[in-house]
Every structure is written in structure tokens, then in C-alpha cells.
């Protein structure tokens, strides 16, 4: 092996920021090659996916609308992952957020007032928290792995959603369609840019990221999360309870996923439908890692992933790329990011010939 890895004295800051960019570029490059090889116009497909959403102003509102839930969920997941708690079930918590918000909307459909929307949002966050409560309880009381429980609860959440829209919550005036009543005007998120579909969710996402950035970098809460994640024994020594931290991070990420859910229901859908789960909860896992588990990094990563989502839809219509292609691009991005992560702690060196070897 002419190449070898050498441990750096300190983790490289430059690589910390460069590797996510490199991961996106590598994804584009390998995507071009792979889709060309299987018979698509790879270059056009990649251009449509990565550039069209940026160059076409008509797509910008889509980016804002799609990146907001990704950012909100990923910021919460990042807190969890920092503590080495692996919440994979944000999709389920997101669905519960939508369900709880819709529940309030159905109860208040004959009422009016500016208090309804905040109540819906609070209910949504509580719903997401309730769904995260279960893995937290199982983990702290019975040491059940939260990866499994949170993931499996996602499917329970989706079944619950289907049951509600097909059964008790079905719109009686909906011609038998599996959907709830439309929300009233007081139950919908206001648009923030007139003439577009950009609703209040986008600025909320930015605020959530900023608040969490502040908390993670300056507060004892953020410190506790980081200590528990990197060195549980040091956390115990420093007086931080690991179990209490697990509770805090799971409930925080559940609340944020629930928030994303209710914002999506009240901003985009306007009602609950079976197609409400759109994989935001899973895509946000990639966003969290691409953003280096840093709230501000996550804002950019959320934009990058929504570009792929929006661009993927464009590419489907223009080059006939299959819908699964978007998933492939997202997966490649995470793969390349994790693979290039080694460069943060190590540097690549050409192996210098050993003097004694040459002499021998």
C-alpha cells in the first residue's frame, strides 16, 4: 500500500467543513456515471437534480417548504445523536404531531380565534413527545434498544393514521375519500411570502435552529448532552445522569418532529390524508449527519437534501428517472459523508520508503 493513514494531532476543522461539500460533489459525480451506465442521460439527470432547483426561481418556494420540516426534525435528531441516543423513529413522531394537531383542529372546527393555531402546535409537539416517551421509558427502565423501538413505532403511527382517516375521523362530506375535513382558515398557517406557498414553517425552522444552536453551545443542557454522548463515565463523574439525559433528548427530538408534523399538516396539507408521511423523518437523519449535527450546518444540509427531493421530481418528468433515484442520491450522500469522515481525524500520506528497507 503506497497510501497510509496518519492520525492528526487535532481533528481538522477544515475537513469538518469540507467533507460534506465533498460528499455532495462525489454523489453528483458517481450519480452521473451510474445513471449513464444504466441507460439514462446521467449528466442531464444530475443537472436537473442538483442545479435546476437552484437556477429555476419557480422552484425556490418548493425548497423553502420542503427544507423547513427537514431542518426542524434534523435539529432535534442532532441533539439525540450528540448524546449517543439513536432515535430512528422521527417519522412516527412527525405523524403523531400531525395527528394530534388535526385532533385539535377537528375539536375546534366550529370555533374561531387566533388561539386555535398555537393550541394545535402545542398539541402537535405533545403528540411527538408522547411517541418518543415510549422508547425513552423502555430504554431507561428496561434497557431496550431505542433504535428498534423508535423505528417500529413509526409503523404503528402510520397504521394509526390510516385507521383514523378511514374510520372515526373520515370527512362525512368527502365522498368516501380517506381524509379528514379541511382545516378552517384559523387552523391554517399563514403564508409569509404573498403569492407563494411559503408558510410560517420556514421562519419557524430558522428560529428553531438558532435557538438550539444557542442551547447546544452555551447552556448546561447542551454540555450535558455532549458529555453523555462522548464519555458516559465522565458524565457520571461530572454529576450528569445518563438516564435523565436520555429522557431529555428523546423528548426534545420527539417534540420537534411533532412540531414539524403539525406545521406540515396546517401549512401544506390542510387536512390529514394517508399520504401524510413523506419520509421527512428518515431523510432528516441524513440531514442531521450532513449538517455535522450542528444546527446551522443542518440548515444548509436541509436545503441540500430538499434540492435533491425537488430536483428528483423534476428529473422524473424530464428524463424519466425512476422515483427511487432520489433515494439512491440521498443514500450516496450519507455514504460518502461517512466514508470521508475519516479525513477529519486522519490524513492520507504517501508511504515514505523505509531507509533500512532500502539498505537491506
Amino acid at each position: 500500500m503506497p497510501l497510509r493513514l496518519e492520525k492528526r494531532a487535532e481533528p481538522s476543522k477544515a475537513m469538518l467543513y469540507l467533507t460534506p461539500v465533498a460528499a455532495v460533489l462525489l454523489t453528483a459525480l458517481v450519480g452521473t456515471i451510474v445513471f449513464s451506465l444504466i441507460g439514462y442521460n446521467g449528466l442531464v439527470a444530475v443537472r436537473e437534480i442538483f442545479l435546476t432547483p437552484l437556477t429555476n426561481p419557480l422552484k425556490w418556494q418548493d425548497l423553502a417548504v420542503k427544507s423547513a420540516p427537514l431542518i426542524i426534525i434534523a435539529v432535534g435528531l442532532a441533539v439525540c445523536y450528540r448524546a449517543n441516543v439513536w432515535n430512528i423513529g422521527a417519522e412516527g413522531q412527525y405523524v403523531l404531531g400531525g395527528i394530534a394537531g388535526t385532533g385539535v383542529a377537528l375539536l375546534t372546527r366550529d370555533m374561531s380565534g387566533p388561539w386555535i393555531l398555537p393550541l394545535m402546535i402545542a398539541a402537535g409537539m405533545a403528540g411527538g413527545m408522547a411517541w418518543a416517551f415510549i422508547p425513552a421509558l423502555l430504554r431507561t427502565r428496561l434497557k431496550v434498544n431505542e433504535i428498534l423501538t423508535s423505528l417500529m413505532l413509526t409503523y404503528v403511527a402510520i397504521q394509526l393514521l390510516n385507521y383514523l382517516v378511514l374510520g372515526p375521523w373520515k370527512d362525512p362530506m368527502g365522498f368516501g375519500f380517506p381524509q379528514t375535513r379541511m382545516f378552517t382558515a384559523d387552523q391554517m398557517l399563514p403564508r409569509v411570502v404573498p403569492g407563494t406557498i411559503i408558510h410560517l414553517g420556514a421562519p419557524i425552522a430558522i428560529v428553531v435552529a438558532l435557538v438550539m444552536w444557542f442551547l447546544m453551545s452555551r447552556s448546561v443542557f447542551g454540555y450535558q448532552v455532549k458529555v453523555v454522548g462522548s464519555a458516559p463515565y465522565a458524565a457520571r463523574y461530572g454529576g450528569f445522569s445518563v438516564n435523565r439525559t436520555i429522557w431529555m433528548v428523546l423528548l426534545t427530538s420527539g417534540a420537534l418532529a411533532g412540531l414539524a408534523g403539525v406545521l406540515e399538516a396546517a401549512g401544506q396539507f390542510g387536512r390529514l390524508v394517508p399520504s401524510f408521511p413523506t419520509n421527512y423523518g428518515f431523510t432528516a437523519i441524513i440531514v442531521a449527519f450532513l449538517g455535522r449535527l450542528h444546527p446551522i450546518g443542518i440548515v444548509f444540509a436541509g436545503l441540500a437534501l430538499s434540492i435533491v427531493v425537488v430536483g428528483g421530481e423534476v428529473a422524473q418528468t424530464t428524463t424519466g428517472l425512476p422515483p427511487a433515484a432520489v433515494g439512491i442520491f440521498q443514500a450516496m450522500m450519507l455514504f460518502f459523508l461517512l466514508a470521508s469522515d475519516v479525513l477529519v481525524r486522519y490524513r492520507v500520506r504517501w508511504r515514505s520508503p523505509v531507509t533500512a528497507e532500502a539498505a537491506a
Binding site: 448546561v220 462522548s230 463515565y233 465522565a234 463523574y237 445522569s241 515514505s352 531507509t355
Partner: protein
């Protein structure tokens, strides 16, 4: 006759450090050769290159007169170089025989291996039942497995990395007998240590490294411990200065009938331990590793939750039920044995590591927010007062050498001026100069009226530092006595598990 091993101009560079700079020395057949130096002097790097774990950037290694390259440890073993590491690589759940079989390069039938193991054990008096599970063995016995494993290959050079740091005095003597026998049969021994009196007792030659360079090759039998230590640190050695005729004040830390519950693994719990430490007193707890020291430290610091409030009292106040944060507020600080991941977080900056234990005592938290300026100022003070080699408070803890990290951790706790300080292995892996500084800081803290508990496996350290001494064995603490009232033999027997005063006295006189 050619030299057994000859190193010429060995140089090894790491990013930012020259670990070995043009080091040359020779080891003769049958010679016991000491490799002496402070932490970070380059001893480990040097032997790692001899054993093939690393490759030199420049320089030559000659083995029995022939120029060789040692690409990996397997090649080293094939040449006849064996090594016993400071930290053993043994599977606790397996037997001695299984552990040795796993470490062999060649596959040997179990029966044949067993007879060869018994033969080696017989020859060198390394008594051990090959069918015992490693978990049931003492540290000294575990080391014997590693030595037997190395001897099975009939080495011509045996490298021993700090072999005595975990042994009782009696075990050390047994080890020396084995090493002397090996040397008399022609096997060379490269003996890494910083315990100077051992080197004087055992070694024929000593090579002293400082800052990666060879500073001297001398005969340890002619040198004094002090002269070798001064060559090692390149400066005069300071003695511990303590006030004459010190008297102790009120009882500050009282531990009565403290017991913990083992967590099921191979962890030894504390069993019915009682002792009292007065203001100004340094109380030493000796013992071989793995006899409940960790459980005792965790129980005192509050990391293990207690069940009896009065089992631990500080200034008369029962703190047995409090967690670590509350105990720190009452003035009890602690330093656990393991630095990385327990006493400090490697990925965090030193400044953030100060927040870990000093945040409440030094007001680094206001309304749930961390005052990073205060943390940085305090960390800067620790770095300056304890001569920590670090770029600054922003360096990550993981980038510091073990000794420097230990200085930082000790400084972080001592400068908080705790009224009770409990430390485990305060100078483990720290060089002589830094150890002296840490000892002095502990003595000064005691002189200022704090009660100090030092848990250590280094008997020399305890004898030099402590006023009062007790020995822990299998989780039970012996009676405490003034240091002067113990003989080394007595302590050794208590460490080995002979309980009760009468028995010890009898055993010593017998």
C-alpha cells in the same frame, strides 16, 4: 561475539514531535538493559520499532550483527524478540491455556502446548494452573501468563514495559528472580521502567532518554537513584517540602461501614470499610489493582449511589446519599484512576473539561448558561500553575500526553481548594519531575487544612507522601496506622491478602 541488538541513528518523527532523534545503543547477550526516561521521552516509540509495531524514519537495527527490518511483531517474534506489555491483552472469561493458545502464531495441539507451558513454568518457577480462568487471577499472575507466552518462543531478547507498576513487593522479587535466571541463560532483557531503585537492583546497564535523545548510558549500580533521576529530567530534583511537626486538626472525612454492591462483572465491591481522615492529613490506601479501589473511589465521589447517609460524612454532615454535584458543593472533590473518558473527555477542550467538575464551585454557570470566559480563565491558571504542556485552554484533552493530562486533571481539582480530596493513582504514568510537583501540591493542600485520600498502587509514592496508611484487599480495608509503623514486608503481605494484624506480624517474623 556480535551484539545481540544494535541500534544506530534511529529517528522517528510524528506530526509536530520528534519522538526519537538519532538514538544509538547496543544490548549484549545475557544483559539486563534498562531503558529509562520521563513520559514522552520516546521509550515506548523506540521499543515499538524494535518489536515491529512502528517503522523508523531513519536508522538501522542490527540483530546479532545482521542488518534487519522488522515489518511487524510477527517478524519480531520470528527473530526471537518477545515483548510483555504494560497492559495485558487477556480474555478474562478464558483459561490460561486458551489465552496462550490464542496468542500463538503457529497452531500447536492443545496437549502439546500444555506440556510445553508446564515445562516453561517449571523451569522458571512461574507457578500457575493452566486451566484456571483468567478472571480469577491476580494481576501478578496475569503478568506471568504474558511472560510464559513470550518465553514459549525461546526469545533471545525480552522487552518488558513497566512490568512492576502493578505488583506487590513480593511479586516484584519473584519477577526479578525469573529475569535474572533468563539473563544467566543468555537471553537479553530490555527493561523499561521509571522506578530507579528497581533498576539499580536488577539492571547491568541503563540507557537514559530525554526528549527523544539519548542523554547517557551508565552503570546503574554506580549511579545513585538521584543522579539518574536528574539525568532523566535534565535538572535538579526537588524534594517534597513539608512543614516540621505538623499536627492534624478535626476529623473532616469519616467513612463508617461503607459497602457497595458489585455490578456483576469482574468488579470488586467495597466491603465494610471504615476510616477517618483529619484536616491536614494525607491518608494513603495501598493495594494491588483490582481489589476494590475503583468502587471505593466511586462510592466516595458519589458516582455510585449510596444507601446510608451516615456512611460518609464531611465535617460531621452525612453526604452518603448525595450525588457528585452536591458532594462537590460540600467540598469533596475526586480524581478517578482512568483519565480518558472518566476524569476527562478527550474530544473536549481543556476549558470544557474544567466545566465538568469546577462549574459549581467556581461559578461557571449562570441561569443554566455556561460562562465560558470563566472556564477559560480558570483553565489558563491550571495550565500555568501545574506546568501543563498544552497550546492553551482551547487544546483538546485528547491531544495532551498522558502525563500532561494528569497534571491538568490534578490541577483542576487541587486549585478548587476542596476541603476533602480523594485521588486515585495521582502520578500514574507521570514523569519524575511532574510527579514531584503533584506531590508537592498535595502536601501544600493538606498543609492548608484539607483532608486528602490517596489511593495508589505505587508503594514508594504512598510511603513518601502519606501520614497514615491502610491496605485494601478484596474490597476490605486493613487497620490504618502511621506510615512509619509499617514495614514494607507487612504492607506486602496485607496487599497479598493476609488479613489481621497478628497474622501479619507472625508471617513477618516467621
Amino acid at each position: 561475539m556480535p551484539h545481540r541488538l544494535e541500534l544506530t541513528g534511529i529517528t522517528k518523527r510524528f506530526p509536530g514531535v520528534l519522538a526519537n532523534d538519532n538514538v544509538s545503543f547496543t544490548v549484549e547477550p545475557g544483559e539486563i538493559h534498562a531503558l529509562l526516561g520521563e513520559n514522552g521521552a520516546g521509550k515506548s516509540t523506540l521499543v515499538k520499532m524494535i518489536y515491529g509495531i512502528m517503522q523508523p524514519d531513519a536508522g538501522e537495527i542490527r540483530w546479532n550483527g545482521e542488518l534487519v527490518t522488522v515489518p511487524n511483531p510477527k517478524a519480531a517474534r520470528r527473530l526471537g524478540i518477545g515483548m510483555v506489555f504494560q497492559h495485558f491483552s487477556l480474555f478474562e472469561a478464558l483459561t490460561v491455556l486458551e489465552n496462550i493458545a490464542l496468542g500463538m502464531d503457529a497452531k500447536i495441539p492443545a496437549r502439546e502446548l500444555e506440556s510445553r507451558i508446564r515445562e516453561v513454568m517449571q523451569t522458571y518457577g512461574l507457578l500457575l494452573d493452566p486451566h484456571r480462568t483468567v478472571a480469577t487471577l491476580s494481576v501478578g499472575e496475569r503478568q506471568r501468563i504474558e511472560i510464559v507466552r513470550a518465553l514459549l518462543l525461546n526469545p533471545k531478547l525480552l522487552i518488558m514495559d513497566e512490568p512492576t507498576s502493578v505488583l506487590t513487593p513480593q511479586e516484584v522479587e519473584q519477577l526479578f528472580t525469573v529475569l535474572r535466571q533468563l539473563a544467566s541463560e543468555g537471553c537479553s532483557i530490555l527493561y523499561i521502567s521509571h522506578k530507579l531503585h528497581e533498576i539499580k537492583a536488577l539492571c547491568d546497564t541503563a540507557t537514559i532518554l530525554r526528549g527523544g535523545r539519548l542523554v547517557d548510558t551508565c552503570d546503574p549500580k554506580v549511579e545513585t537513584s538521584r543522579s539518574m533521576a536528574e539525568k532523566m529530567i535534565g535538572a535538579g530534583l526537588k524534594d517534597i517540602v513539608r512543614g516540621e511537626g505538623r499536627s492534624f486538626g478535626e476529623a473532616k472525612l469519616v467513612v463508617s461501614r461503607l459497602s457497595t454492591v458489585g455490578d456483576g462483572h469482574f468488579d470488586v465491591p467495597v466491603n465494610d470499610v471504615s476510616f477517618t481522615v483529619r484536616a491536614g492529613e494525607i491518608f494513603g490506601i495501598a493495594g494491588v489493582a483490582g481489589n476494590g479501589q475503583n468502587a471505593l473511589l466511586d462510592a466516595l465521589s458519589g458516582e455510585i449511589h449510596g444507601e446510608d447517609r451516615e456512611a460518609i460524612t464531611i465535617d460531621g454532615l452525612g453526604v452518603g446519599l448525595m450525588n457528585t454535584t452536591e458532594r462537590r458543593r460540600r467540598g469533596l472533590c475526586a480524581v478517578p484512576e482512568e483519565r480518558n473518558g472518566h476524569a476527562a473527555v478527550g474530544e473536549f477542550t481543556l476549558s470544557d473539561n474544567s466545566v465538568l467538575t469546577a462549574r459549581d464551585r467556581l461559578g461557571m454557570v449562570m441561569m443554566g448558561l455556561i460562562n465560558s470566559g470563566a472556564a477559560r480563565t480558570y483553565t489558563g491558571r491550571v495550565i500555568a500553575d501545574f506546568a501543563v504542556k498544552a497550546l492553551g485552554p482551547g487544546s483538546t484533552a485528547g491531544s495532551l500526553s498522558g502525563g500532561n493530562l494528569q497534571k491538568y486533571i490534578m490541577g483542576r481539582e487541587i486549585l478548587q481548594k476542596p476541603s476533602v480530596l480523594v485521588v486515585s493513582q495521582p502520578t500514574w504514568g507521570v514523569d519524575a519531575g511532574a510527579a514531584a510537583a503533584i506531590h508537592q501540591a498535595l502536601v501544600d493542600l493538606a498543609a492548608a487544612g484539607s483532608a486528602i485520600v490517596v489511593i495508589s498502587q505505587d508503594l514508594d509514592e504512598l510511603l513518601a507522601l502519606c501520614d497514615t496508611l491502610a491496605v485494601i484487599n478484596m474490597g476490605r480495608l486493613s487497620e490504618a496506622r502511621p506510615v512509619g509503623d509499617f514495614s514494607v514486608e507487612e504492607i506486602g503481605l496485607l496487599m497479598g491478602g493476609v488479613h489481621g494484624q497478628g497474622e501479619v506480624r507472625d508471617a513477618v517474623t516467621a
